[in-house]
Amino acid sequence: MAEFGQLHVSNVSKEFTIGTQRVLALSHADLTVPRGEFVCLVGASGCGKTTLLRIIAGFEVATAGEVRVGKHLVTGPGPERGMVFQDYALFPWLTVRENVAFGPRERGVPKAEARERVDEFIHMVGLDAFADRHPHQLSGGMKQRVAIARVLANDSQLLLMDEPFGALDALTRERLQEELLEIWQRTKLTVLFVTHSMEEAVLLSDRVVVMTAGPGKIESDYRVALPRPRDVSSPEFNDIRRALSAKLTSHVAKRAAA
């Protein structure tokens, strides 16, 4: 497996031009994520959390600042940083197995070895029986499992997730959250997870990074010290969730008043 250092986001800003107007989507973001940590980016829409994620993925170029993974400077998308999109972005013409094999094949991994890895990760996400189906024959939850397996099979060390469970029903979402935690603990991946649900953030992460809008910036960085597995109905869990939500809403209220 490729050696992976920590993720360093230093002083990253992003300006978009919409028509003749320039909009500051992200202002001076600093973030360090050590290897193996699970970090959630939370915030209302427009706070730049998806923009930050996309800059780290290499899909967008920062207007200022830089992103490093270990010593390596991020200049574009790369296999060591795998993205899981909210709307899956599976290749509809490929089967589950072929979707998962896309990365290994692209990087020239020998066939037998690739096949073994692909089967391993399809098994890990529990889709053995569906390996030869096409995406349109799968439910939303299953599609997202394929998307996760696709990133895992590609040796990605940093898992970037953009509201991955946002389009799923509550039951499937809970199930996938559990499965994601299992996979994370098993693979020791570093995860950066964007969500607007504070409950999801507190349930999943080691650290919750709260972002605020106008311009988008990192407001606070909170370590969740609760032992795992966490119980969403426990008073401790709710204390943290409430405290973080208050932080977010007070800021939104301030902006609304201004």
Binding site: F59, G82, A89, F102, E106, E179
Partner: protein, 283 residues
């Protein structure tokens, strides 16, 4: 990640099977339903023939006889008896020849226009202006250019099939979900591999739509192309029927064209559904 959850989810995706009637009924009923309308038309036609202006049009019975004679001979034994295969073969040759030529030019060109901005900026405006010109408006020019003969018919078929294939190819290439490019890029795909592994497969359904439309147009245009200057072909046979006032021949030719076009379309559709199992279309 236990097996139970997967089966639960699988069950929720499987559609509940409606009560299906036995096999033969499921096959026969749609056929019967589809036959009601043409049967009524035939009955009305037979009933009305011999009255008013319809007197000059052959009856269904006469057309049936002509169809048989056209195909196998032995009834009238005139210049058209048993010649169907010649006319059909000539028309098919021109249709598929012109169509194949159109596909050969339009698909690569469409991929280029869709993918390369400079090519698009250079060619797209011209095509936008040429496209509204009806194919039939090209006929006089192509007759002068190619002379009387099959070449001008083939050139018309080419023009008729060219635009649907081109436009649908361009559309397919231009409307690939941008997320798929990002997904492929993050998996290590770039450059020409991106074209082969993302653009082409993503555009294929649209390209097939273009081929289907193009082949349909090819069958429309072939008749016009064959109406002047060629001795054989279904269009020529229909035109002869007009000259000879033989409505039985005209209608027989029309029916053959209808069937040939229908079969052609089904072939492309079958090919589509075989190659693009992830994107099955229904005719």
């Amino acid at each position: 990640m236990t097996a139970t959850v997967d089966t639960v989810e699988a069950a929720s995706t499987a559609r509940a099977a409606p009560a299906v009637p036995s096999g033969w009924r499921r096959r026969v009923v749609p056929v019967l339903l589809a036959l009601i309308f043409p049967a009524c038309v035939l009955a009305a036609w037979q009933f009305a023939s011999g009255t008013g202006r319809l007197r000059i049009v052959a009856t269904p019975h006469e057309v049936a006889l002509m169809m048989w004679d056209f195909a196998f001979g032995g009834i009238y034994d005139d210049a058209y008896s048993g010649t169907l295969y010649i006319h059909l073969y000539e028309s098919m040759r021109r249709v598929y020849g012109g169509f194949a030529l159109a596909a050969l030019v339009a698909i690569p060109l469409g991929l280029l226009i869709g993918r390369v901005k400079v090519v698009r900026q250079m060619l797209d405006p011209t095509f936008q202006i040429l496209r509204p010109i009806p194919v039939t408006a090209w006929l006089p020019l192509s007759m002068i250019f190619f002379g009387l003969g099959p070449s001008s018919a083939i050139s018309l078929v080419f023009l008729g099939a060219f635009y649907p294939i081109l436009l649908n190819t361009v559309f397919g290439v231009r409307h690939v979900d941008p997320k798929l490019f990002e997904a492929a890029a993050m998996l290590g795909c770039s450059g020409s591999a991106m074209f082969r592994r993302v653009v082409l497969p993503a555009a294929l359904p649209s390209i097939f739509n273009g081929l289907r439309l193009g082949l349909g147009f090819a069958w429309v245009v072939i008749v016009v192309g064959e109406m002047t200057g060629v001795p054989t072909g279904l269009g020529a046979a229909i035109m002869d029927g007009r000259t000879l006032s033989r409505t039985d021949l005209i209608i027989s030719g029309m029916i053959v064209i209808g069937i040939a076009g229908f079969v052609s379309d089904k072939l492309v559709l079958a090919l589509n559904n075989r190659l693009l199992r992830w994107n099955v279309q229904h005719g």
